[in-house]
C-alpha cells in the first residue's frame, strides 16, 4: 500500500550572486529623489528572488541608519482594461503598500486624489521603494497612475522609487508611452548565468557539486550537463536539486554524472512526450478538411451553395419590415 512521505521542509537558502549585487547597487544608486527602474529578463532568471532579497536586506537595515527606509515587494494580479484603470492601478499599489482603502474613499476620489493619498500613506510608513513584480500584466493606464504617484512624491520631496519587474514584453510595453520611457532612470537586464556561475550555484546548494572539480574533464562534463538542463536559469536548478535529493533518499546508488542524467531523463522524456502528443493533435486538427455547412456529402456529390443573400439577411424590424440596405448602388445593366 502506498505510504505518503511528506518532504522535509527546509529553509530557503539565498545565494548572493554578482548579478544580484550588481543590480541592487545600480538600483540603490538612482533611488535618491525617486526613480523609475525596470528589471527585465527571461523567466526563471531570478528577478523576483533578487527583489525579495533586496527588500529583506533593506528592511533588516532599517534601524541602522537615520536615512533608512522600507521596501515593499508585491506581485501584480489582473487589472482588467476597463474604465478607471488608473484608479485601479493606484489602489492596487495602495493595498499592497499602505493597507486597505475604504470603498467610499476610492469611489469618491479622483485618480489624482488617490495618488496623493497613496503618497501620504507611503510617507507615513516610510516606504520609499516598491518592487512591482509581473508588471507586464499591468495595463498602460495603471502604470501611468503609478508613475503619477511617483511624480507627486517627487514634488513633495519624498523619494519614491518604483521598480517594475517583468519579462521580455515589459520594455516594449513601457516604450509605448514616451512619458514613461523617457522617465526611466535605470534599465537592468537579468541575463542568463554562465555555465560556470550555474555550477557555482549548484555547488553552493548541493554537496555533490561542491565535491566536483570543474577544471577536470569530468567536472566540465558536469558543468555542460548542468548548463544543458538549466540553460543558465537559476529557477530551473532548484527543482532539479530537489529531484536529486529525492532519488538520493531512494539509495539507488552513488551519485555520478549518469545518475544525474537519469534523474533528469524521466522529466525530459515526459516533457518531450507531452510536447509531441500536443503537436500531433494540433497537426491532426490542422490537416483535416474544413467541415462545410450542412450534411456531409459523399465525394463527387454536388453541394448546394447557400445564397449569401439569405445568410446575410438582417432581422425584420418591429413592423415586420426589413431595414433598407445601405450597400453600394446596384450595377446598371
Amino acid at each position: 500500500m502506498f505510504k505518503v512521505d511528506f518532504p522535509e521542509r527546509r529553509a530557503d537558502v539565498c545565494i548572493e550572486t554578482a548579478l544580484m549585487e550588481r543590480t541592487a547597487r545600480r538600483t540603490l544608486a538612482v533611488h535618491p529623489g525617486g526613480a523609475l527602474v525596470v528589471w527585465s529578463g527571461p523567466s526563471r532568471v531570478g528577478k523576483t528572488w533578487t527583489a525579495r532579497w533586496l527588500r529583506d536586506s533593506i528592511d533588516a537595515a532599517y534601524e541602522t541608519s537615520p536615512d533608512a527606509f522600507r521596501a515593499v515587494h508585491y506581485e501584480v494580479g489582473q487589472i482588467r482594461d476597463c474604465e478607471n484603470v488608473m484608479k485601479r492601478g493606484i489602489r492596487s499599489l495602495y493595498h499592497a503598500t499602505v493597507g486597505r482603502m475604504t470603498e467610499t474613499a476610492y469611489r469618491h476620489a479622483s485618480a489624482e486624489d488617490l495618488a496623493v493619498q497613496l503618497v501620504y500613506g507611503l510617507q507615513a510608513k516610510n516606504v520609499q521603494m516598491v518592487f512591482i513584480d509581473e508588471a507586464g500584466l499591468l495595463p498602460l493606464e495603471a502604470i501611468r497612475g503609478m508613475v503619477l504617484a511617483r511624480d507627486i512624491a517627487e514634488i513633495g520631496r519624498f523619494p519614491l522609487s518604483l521598480i517594475f519587474i517583468g519579462m521580455d514584453d515589459l520594455p516594449g510595453t513601457l516604450r509605448r508611452l514616451p512619458q514613461i520611457e523617457n522617465r526611466i532612470h535605470e534599465w537592468c537586464y537579468f541575463e542568463a548565468y554562465s555555465p560556470g556561475e550555474m555550477f557555482e550555484l549548484a555547488a553552493a546548494l548541493h554537496p555533490y557539486f561542491a565535491s566536483v572539480d570543474p577544471s577536470t574533464p569530468e567536472g566540465a562534463a558536469h558543468v555542460d550537463f548542468l548548463n544543458s538542463i538549466t540553460k543558465g536559469l537559476p529557477g530551473k536548478l532548484d527543482p532539479f536539486l530537489r529531484k536529486l535529493s529525492l532519488r538520493e533518499t531512494d539509495g539507488v546508488g552513488d551519485i555520478d554524472l549518469a545518475f544525474l542524467k537519469a534523474v533528469h531523463l524521466i522529466t525530459a522524456r515526459d516533457e518531450q512526450r507531452s510536447i509531441r502528443d500536443a503537436d500531433t493533435r494540433r497537426g491532426a486538427a490542422s490537416s483535416q478538411p474544413t467541415p462545410t455547412l450542412g450534411v456531409a456529402r459523399a465525394p463527387g456529390q454536388k453541394t448546394r451553395r447557400i445564397s449569401q443573400k439569405r445568410v446575410a439577411e438582417p432581422p425584420r424590424t418591429a413592423r415586420g419590415k426589413r431595414p433598407r440596405r445601405r450597400g453600394p448602388a446596384a450595377v446598371p445593366k
Binding site: 495602495y94 493597507g99 482603502m101 475604504t102 470603498e103 467610499t104 474613499a105 469618491h108 510617507q123
Partner: protein, 683 residues
C-alpha cells in the same frame, strides 16, 4: 188661556226662521238635492250666519242651525230624511231633480274607491294604488289619512278580500285587495317593486349566473355570498338601498325566515355578513362548498395555506401570499384595504383597533419579521389559540431559522476567520476570534430553544450543525487564545454605541460643503442605510415613537471619514477598517500601543481613533508627545483632536516648536492655523 212653560202662546216667530227657510231652499236648489246640516251651514251664506248669531248669541252656529232646521221640520216647512245615519233636509213643496246619495260614510266611500281603483288598474289593488287613485279626486282627500285603517275594517267585515300578498310592502301595503263581490276569484297581480322583492330578484339572478357558470365549468354551483348580491344590486341601481350593507343583511335574513323563505344559510353559521346562501330547495350535497369564500379573511387564510404548501414552509411573507392570490381569481380580495393592511388586521389578537375585544379563534398569526418582512402562518382548520399553538410555534421556529441564516450570511464567518488571521496585531486577532465565537454562540442559542420542542425545520438543524463546524474550525485556527493571555479580557464587548441620522448630522458638519444634500437627516439616513452597519436600539418601544435601529458608531465614522475626510482620516480609516473588522472592543486594541514595532503602534492608534471609547484619550496624548515614530505621533495627535481632547491645542503648540520631524511640525501648524473641532476630519 193655557201657557206653555217658558213661552207665551201667541208670541210671534223670530225672523230668522224665514231666513233659514229661504237659505234651505237656496242651497237645495244649488245642489239639486236634499242637503245635510254641514252643507247647509257651509253654503247658506254669511248673512244667514250673522243673523243666526245675532238671534242666538250664546250658542254655536251649527247647534242653532240644527235647531232651526228641526223647527222648520216641526212647522211643516221642511222635511227631513234619514239615510246612513245622516239627516237630509229639503223644503216642502220643492221638487228636486236628485235624490239623497246612496253611499256617504267614509267606509263606503273607501269601498267605492277600491272598486274604482280595481277597475282602473285592471287588477287587485294595494293601499298604494288606492292612495294614488284617491289623489286624482279632490273629494276623496279626506280618505287618505284613514285608508289603511278603513281597508282593514272592511276586510274584517268581509266587504273586502285579500287575493295576494307581497314581501316588504311597508307603507305601500303588502296585500292585494278585491271587493268581496268582485267577479274574478283572482286578479292579475303586478310584481311588486319592493326592497325585499329586489333582493329576492338579485338572489335569483346571482344564482342563475352561478348555475350557468358551474354548468360550463363542469362543477357544482357554489353558494352565494352577500357581496356578490350587493354588487348585482348596485350595478342595476347605483342609488339602491344596497349601499347600506346592514339593509341587505336584514333583507337576506327576512328572506330566509318563515314558511315563505326562499333562501337558506349554507354551512356553519358565521357572522351575518359572512354567511353563504343558497336557494331553499337546493341541498348541501348539490353545492360546491370547497372553494367558496365568504370574506377576505377566509380568502387570506386559504391564500396563506396555499402559499405555505407551495413553498413547503410553515410561514410565508406577504409577497408569497400575493403570488398565491394572483394564481386564483377566487382569492382576489374584495375589500378596499391593501393586502398588508388586511393581513395585519386579521392577524391581530384583538378584533377591534382599541384592543378591547379578543378573538375567539385565530385564523391567521404573525410570527415575526425577516429583514423587515412580516411572516404569517394559518393554523389548520378553525382552531382556537390553544390548538393553533403548534402551528404558530413551527412558524416562530422557521422565522428564527431564517433570521439566523441571514445573520450568519452577514457575519461571513469563513471570510472573517481568514481576515482575522491577516491582522497585524495579535491581540486584535484574538478579539476578532472571540467576537466571532460569541456571535456564533448567540446564533446557536437562538435556535436551540426550538430544538427541544421539535418544531425546528431541517434547515435549522443544518444551520446548527454548520455553526458547530465553524466553531470547531475557529478553535483549530488557534486564534482563541486562553483567557488572561496578554492581559486580554475574558468577554468581548458588543457594538453598543449607535446614533440616529439626526444625531449624526451635527457631528459631521464638514461633509456638507461637498455633499449638501446630506445635511438633511432623511437624506443622510438613506445614505447611511446603504453603507453603515446597524444595531438594535435598546430604547425602542413603538415604531413611530423611536427608531428601531441605530447606525453603529464606528461604522459611521469609518464611512464618513472615507467619504469626505482628509488625508490622515482616510489613511487611518483604511487601517482601522482592515484591522478591526467587526470588533468594537477597545480592550483588545490597547495592548497594541505597547508594541515595539512602529507599524503596529500606528495600526493600534488608527483602530482606537475610530472606536468611541472615553478612556483612551490619555493614551493618545501621551503617544503624541512621546512616541519615537513621527507618523505615530502625528496620528495620535489627530486621534486626540478627534476625540475632543481638552488641551489638544496646547499639545499642538508644544509639538509645533519642539518636534524633530518636519511633517509633524507642519501638521500641527496647519491645526493651529484653523483650530475648529470639525477641522480634524478634513486634515
Amino acid at each position: 188661556m193655557s201657557a206653555v212653560a217658558g213661552r207665551p202662546f201667541l208670541q210671534p216667530r223670530p225672523a230668522v226662521y224665514d231666513t233659514a227657510r229661504d237659505a234651505l231652499r237656496t242651497v237645495c236648489l244649488a245642489l239639486e238635492r236634499p242637503v245635510r246640516l254641514d252643507e247647509f251651514v257651509e253654503l247658506a251664506g254669511e248673512d244667514v250666519a250673522v243673523q243666526i248669531r245675532l238671534t242666538y248669541p250664546n250658542h254655536p252656529l251649527r247647534v242653532k242651525a240644527n235647531y232651526l232646521l228641526g223647527r222648520l221640520v216641526n212647522l211643516g216647512q221642511a222635511c227631513a230624511t234619514r239615510s246612513s245615519n245622516r239627516c237630509w233636509y229639503s223644503p216642502v213643496g220643492l221638487k228636486l231633480p236628485k235624490s239623497i246619495p246612496a253611499a256617504d260614510s267614509r267606509l263606503q266611500r273607501t269601498l267605492l274607491l277600491l272598486r274604482a281603483t280595481v277597475k282602473h288598474v285592471g287588477r287587485a289593488a294595494r293601499v298604494v294604488d288606492l292612495r294614488t287613485h284617491a289623489l286624482d279626486d279632490p273629494t276623496n282627500a279626506d280618505l287618505l289619512e284613514w285608508l289603511a285603517h278603513d281597508i282593514a275594517i272592511l276586510k274584517r267585515w268581509g266587504k273586502v278580500r285579500v287575493v295576494a300578498e307581497c314581501r316588504g310592502g311597508g307603507y305601500d301595503g303588502s296585500m292585494y285587495y278585491l271587493p268581496a263581490d268582485h267577479e274574478a276569484t283572482s286578479a292579475p297581480v303586478e310584481p311588486a317593486r319592493t326592497w325585499m322583492g329586489e333582493v329576492e330578484d338579485a338572489f335569483r339572478g346571482a344564482w342563475a349566473a352561478e348555475v350557468e357558470r358551474a354548468r360550463e365549468a363542469g362543477t357544482r354551483p357554489k353558494p352565494l355570498a352577500l357581496p356578490t348580491v350587493r354588487r348585482l344590486l348596485l350595478e342595476s341601481d347605483p342609488h339602491s338601498k344596497a349601499r347600506q350593507a346592514q339593509l341587505l343583511i336584514n333583507a337576506a335574513a327576512s328572506l330566509s325566515e318563515g314558511e315563505s323563505a326562499v333562501i337558506r344559510v349554507v354551512g356553519t353559521v358565521r357572522a351575518r355578513y359572512q354567511r353563504l346562501w343558497a336557494p331553499i330547495g337546493i341541498p348541501d350535497a348539490a353545492l360546491d362548498l370547497g372553494a367558496a369564500f365568504a370574506s377576505d379573511s377566509e380568502r387570506l387564510v386559504e391564500s396563506v395555506r396555499r402559499a405555505c404548501a407551495a413553498e413547503c414552509a410553515p410561514a410565508v411573507p406577504a409577497s408569497s401570499i400575493q403570488k398565491a392570490i394572483s394564481r386564483d381569481p377566487e382569492l382576489h380580495l374584495q375589500g378596499k384595504q391593501s393586502l398588508h393592511a388586511t393581513l395585519s388586521c386579521i392577524a391581530r389578537r384583538s378584533s377591534d383597533p382599541r384592543r378591547t375585544r379578543m378573538r375567539i379563534r385565530q385564523n391567521l398569526a404573525a410570527v415575526g419579521r425577516v429583514r423587515g418582512h412580516a411572516y404569517y402562518v394559518a393554523p389548520p382548520g378553525e382552531s382556537d389559540f390553544a390548538q393553533a399553538g403548534e402551528a404558530i410555534a413551527a412558524g416562530l421556529a422557521y422565522v428564527a431559522t431564517l433570521n439566523a441564516e441571514r445573520e450568519l450570511q452577514d457575519l461571513k464567518p469563513e471570510t472573517e476567520i481568514l481576515n482575522a488571521a491577516r491582522t497585524r496585531l495579535t491581540c486584535v486577532r484574538t478579539g476578532r476570534a472571540r467576537y466571532l465565537a460569541l456571535r456564533l454562540k448567540d446564533l446557536a442559542r437562538s435556535l436551540s430553544g426550538f430544538v427541544n420542542s421539535d418544531c425546528l425545520p431541517p434547515s435549522g438543524l443544518r444551520l446548527i450543525r454548520k455553526i458547530r463546524e465553524i466553531q470547531q474550525r475557529l478553535d483549530h485556527a488557534g486564534q482563541l487564545q486562553p483567557t488572561g493571555a496578554a492581559g486580554l479580557p475574558e468577554s468581548v464587548q458588543l457594538p453598543s454605541v449607535g446614533w440616529t441620522a439626526a444625531e449624526v448630522v451635527p457631528m459631521f458638519a464638514h461633509l456638507y460643503a461637498a455633499h449638501p444634500r446630506l445635511s438633511q437627516p432623511a437624506e443622510l439616513r438613506r445614505h447611511l442605510w446603504k453603507h453603515c452597519a446597524r444595531i438594535p436600539n435598546p430604547c425602542f418601544t413603538v415604531r413611530n415613537k423611536s427608531a428601531e435601529f441605530l447606525f453603529e458608531g464606528t461604522s459611521v465614522r469609518l464611512h464618513l471619514a472615507g467619504l469626505s475626510g482628509g488625508r490622515e482620516a482616510v489613511l487611518l480609516a483604511g487601517l482601522a477598517e482592515e484591522e478591526l473588522g467587526p470588533l468594537r472592543d477597545p480592550a483588545f486594541v490597547l495592548p497594541g500601543l505597547q508594541s515595539s514595532d512602529e507599524l503596529l503602534r500606528h495600526t493600534a492608534v488608527a483602530a482606537l481613533a475610530f472606536l468611541p471609547s472615553a478612556h483612551v484619550e490619555g493614551h493618545f496624548r501621551s503617544i503624541a508627545l512621546t512616541d519615537p515614530a513621527p507618523s505615530v505621533r502625528r496620528s495620535a495627535l489627530w486621534a486626540y483632536g478627534v476625540a475632543g481632547g481638552g488641551d489638544v491645542l496646547d499639545v499642538c503648540t508644544l509639538l509645533a516648536s519642539s518636534d524633530v520631524d518636519r511633517r509633524v511640525r507642519t501638521f500641527t501648524k496647519v491645526v493651529l492655523s484653523n483650530p475648529q473641532p470639525t477641522n480634524w476630519w478634513i486634515l
